[in-house]
């Protein structure tokens, strides 16, 4: 796996790095929502949205699952706030974070894609899971001109190749 490699075109810069610690938080009911919000400092986001900051971020991934990442993540405190109302499972070991920065990030995601990343409403704070080049990805819009792509590490070289190709062609 080429780590930290960057591909630069006029429109987009593509970087690649391991995702680091990421945890899946699954809730069985709403009992832990309030204590978790209090602990995190923000409400767990609804479908299609992220919340928090780069230091501590929650990404709504599934109807009852959020991905939590960021250096400020306090696992013990979250486990305590969670109680018996859900489960916290580390999942980040097999994730790669592909960064797309520059005005061309939206177009780069449309090649071999299915999702409308060119929709202006898909802006910072938005997230979506879809397929690109037959690979499952999670898109996280981090800024007006930047997007993060979480992808299973085994598929990362294939996806990286596809994104490089599409960035050059865009």
């Amino acid at each position: 796996m080429p780590k930290g490699r960057a591909t630069v075109t006029d429109a987009v810069t593509i970087t690649l790095a391991p995702a680091g610690p990421v945890h899946a938080l699954e809730l069985w009911d709403g009992a832990a929502l309030a204590p978790l919000s209090a602990l995190l400092g923000f409400a767990l986001p609804p479908a299609g949205r992220t919340a928090g900051t780069a230091a501590l971020r929650a990404i709504r991934a599934e109807p009852a699952v959020w991905l939590l990442d960021g250096p400020a993540l306090d696992l013990a405190a979250i486990t305590a706030a969670l109680g018996d109302n859900g489960a916290l499972t580390p999942v980040g070991g097999g994730l790669v974070r592909i960064g797309l920065a520059g005005p061309g990030w939206r177009a780069a995601l449309m090649a071999d894609g299915l999702f409308d990343a060119e929709d202006p409403a898909f802006g910072p704070g938005s997230t979506a899971a879809t397929l690109i080049a037959h690979v499952g990805v999670r898109l996280i819009v981090t800024a007006a001109d930047a997007c993060e792509v979480l992808v299973a590490a085994s598929y990362a070289p294939h996806l990286h190749h596809a994104l490089e190709r599409s960035a050059k062609m865009a």
Partner: protein
């Protein structure tokens, strides 16, 4: 290719979804053997509207059920399946 309005994610391409089965062929582990085999092997196959279970496997991984007209592909009455929705 269909456009399926996922109850969680909104309209998405069919490639993100997987078809599971029609609702009348759901078999629980409590079902009696005869009923279970009937549901699996001798079910309706209407030329028209069927109630189908799909999963947004490559999206939010959520489950849903909707009615699909197998002639026109018109989709209606889509609703989520699964545990009680959270905020």
């Amino acid at each position: 290719m269909l456009l399926i309005a996922c109850p969680h994610c909104g309209p998405r391409a069919q490639e993100e979804f997987s078809y599971e089965r029609t609702t009348d062929s759901v078999v629980t582990t409590e079902a009696a053997p005869d009923a279970a085999m009937t549901a699996l092997f001798t079910r309706e196959n209407p030329r028209g509207v069927a109630e189908e279970i799909w999963r947004h496997t490559y999206g939010c991984r959520g489950w849903m059920v909707f009615r699909r007209d197998r002639i026109s592909h018109a989709i209606s009455d889509i609703r989520p399946l699964g545990p009680e929705p959270l905020a």
